[in-house]
């Protein structure tokens, strides 16, 4: 559905050229929710804006829904843009228009007759769950409701692709989840391809099928979300994965235990899929003769299965400890003995 071929964007600044996007190749499938994650300044925003030519690439090709975007201009670009909708971090609604009029806006642009427009607006209001708020002005809505208007507006012309530019970054966690649920719902119901950029791994974990990690203008890692969670290759990716799998205080909590080596090794265990739900720990204690001190644990659900991390301290004799580590390996559980300097 979307192919990026050797895409680059260079901004000219007084202090010299800044390469915001550096030779990016990506391909995104039809009906997929594809996430791009990176810290601010990584170039992800520039990247997504090149998908609908809000930003012109300096080099390379963008193909979206059979449109060769970088070649388009004028009328054909406007036509293509009606098939590629976008929602924004700050919603970008027109304050002078009511919810209904905001949703009708892209329909007016597309030249849809008034009667049809009103019908479509009503459909969309129901779809995004804004029943009864049609006559309200954006200033009377909460952040989550504003984003719902943004989404309804983006869907008005039945686009093939929806681009989400940090669409949940201005929302609180609970509202974020409800918006993500709505996006998943739309993706299923309409078979819409969704590309989203974010700096929150939580967003990727919750709704994406595949993810690309960006750093300094480059895509440094990409793959299925569960695979990336399981085997993050780059340090950058590991950091993002930690956002979700480790509660914030984990490292602080086990710091003290690491210093006192006599207490036994601290081990980070990573479970995948069904393993996350099996009573491995009980078995470990029974067969290896070690005692397990559970420090911290978390199970995260991705679209393709769950993924768990558990921090434990193993106590017992040296040979039993080695046996325990082997046991874990046999049970397809990745174990990492944490060292003090880590």
């Amino acid at each position: 559905m979307i192919t990026l071929n050797r895409l680059s964007k260079v901004f000219q600044a007084k202090s010299g050229n800044i390469t915001a996007v550096d030779d990016v190749n990506l391909s995104i499938n039809k009906g997929e929710i594809f996430g791009i994650i990176g810290y601010s300044g990584a170039g992800k925003s520039t990247l997504i804006r090149m998908l609908n030519m809000l930003e012109r690439p300096s080099q390379g090709q963008v193909t979206v829904a059979d449109w060769n975007m970088s070649k388009l201009s004028g009328r054909s670009l406007r036509e293509a843009r009606q098939e590629i909708s976008m929602i924004f971090q700050h919603f970008n609604l027109l304050w002078s228009r009511t919810v209904k009029e905001n949703i009708a806006f892209p329909l007016e642009i597309a030249g849809v007759p008034k009667k049809k427009r009103m019908e479509r607006v009503q459909e969309l209001i129901e779809l995004v769950g804004l029943h009864g708020r049609g006559e309200a002005y954006p200033s009377q809505l909460s952040g989550g409701q504003k984003q719902r208007v943004g989404i309804a507006r983006a869907l008005a012309n039945n686009p093939k692709v929806l681009l989400c530019d940090e669409a949940t970054s201005a929302l609180d966690p609970k509202t974020t989840d409800s918006i993500l649920d709505l996006l998943t719902d739309i993706n299923k119901k309409l078979g819409l391809t969704i590309v989203l950029i974010t700096h929150e791994m939580h967003v990727i974990r919750k709704i994406c099928h595949r993810v690309a990690v960006m750093d300094d203008g480059k895509v440094v890692e990409q793959g299925k979300v569960l695979d990336v969670f399981r085997h993050p290759k780059q340090d950058m990716t590991k950091e993002f994965v930690k956002q979700v799998t480790e509660p914030e205080e984990t490292m602080e909590a086990i710091e003290g235990l690491l210093e006192d080596r006599d207490m036994g090794p601290v081990v980070k265990l990573m479970f995948l899929g069904e393993d996350a739900e099996q009573p491995v720990m009980t078995e470990l204690i029974q067969t290896c003769g070690v005692s397990v001190n559970i420090l911290q644990g978390k199970v995260s659900k991705t679209r393709d299965g769950s993924y768990g991390t558990l921090f434990v301290q193993l106590q017992g004799e040296k040979k039993n400890l080695d046996k325990a580590l082997l046991f874990l390996e046999d049970h397809r559980i990745e174990a990492e003995v944490l060292n003090h300097d880590k």
Partner: protein, 226 residues
Amino acid sequence: MINNLQEELLPNVNWENMWEATLETAYMSALAVAATFIIGIFLGLILYLTDKGNLWQNKTIHAIAAALVNIFRSIPFIILIILLVPFTTFIVGTMLGPSAALPALVIGAAPFYARMVEIGLREVDKGVIEAAQSMGANQWHIIFKVLLPESMPALISGITVTSIALVSYTAMAGVIGAGGLGDLAFREGYQRSNPDVTFMATVAILIIVFILQWIGDWITYKLDKR
């Protein structure tokens, strides 16, 4: 009793003349405000759109428009009227009467208003313009469906300020024969030493100004849904 009071305090006020002058001032102001509104928005749009980073970015046109606006904004109005005498006689056919004041009024006020329009347009959220572009809006959609509606409260409060300036311009135009309250205050009040006439003309102008301000504030309040 009221008649007595009036004769004592305002012995020289001819109410019929006063009313006629008020109507002339209202006529000049109303037409000038309408023309200034349209021309000012047009000029303001050009200033804004040709500016750096905007839709019609164009250094030359922007520089020319900005220069014209600055020149006409800087010329004192009383001098502008005199400078425009040949132009006015060409367009209106005479230099006398309220209509003859219109070209000078509009040329004096439109550049002033254009700057306010430009400021108002600059305050429109760039993100909203971008959102419209991402939906496939063309430049006319952006001007008429985004820029103008989203800046309307600023455009209205701007025209309110401008229209009050215009009322005082009409008083100056009166001096060179356009009629109206300024003319009345000058000829009947000042030159014939009737301070009560000057006083009543001032009151009439104040009433017009207050009404304009009130209408402007009310429309701005009604439009602003932010």
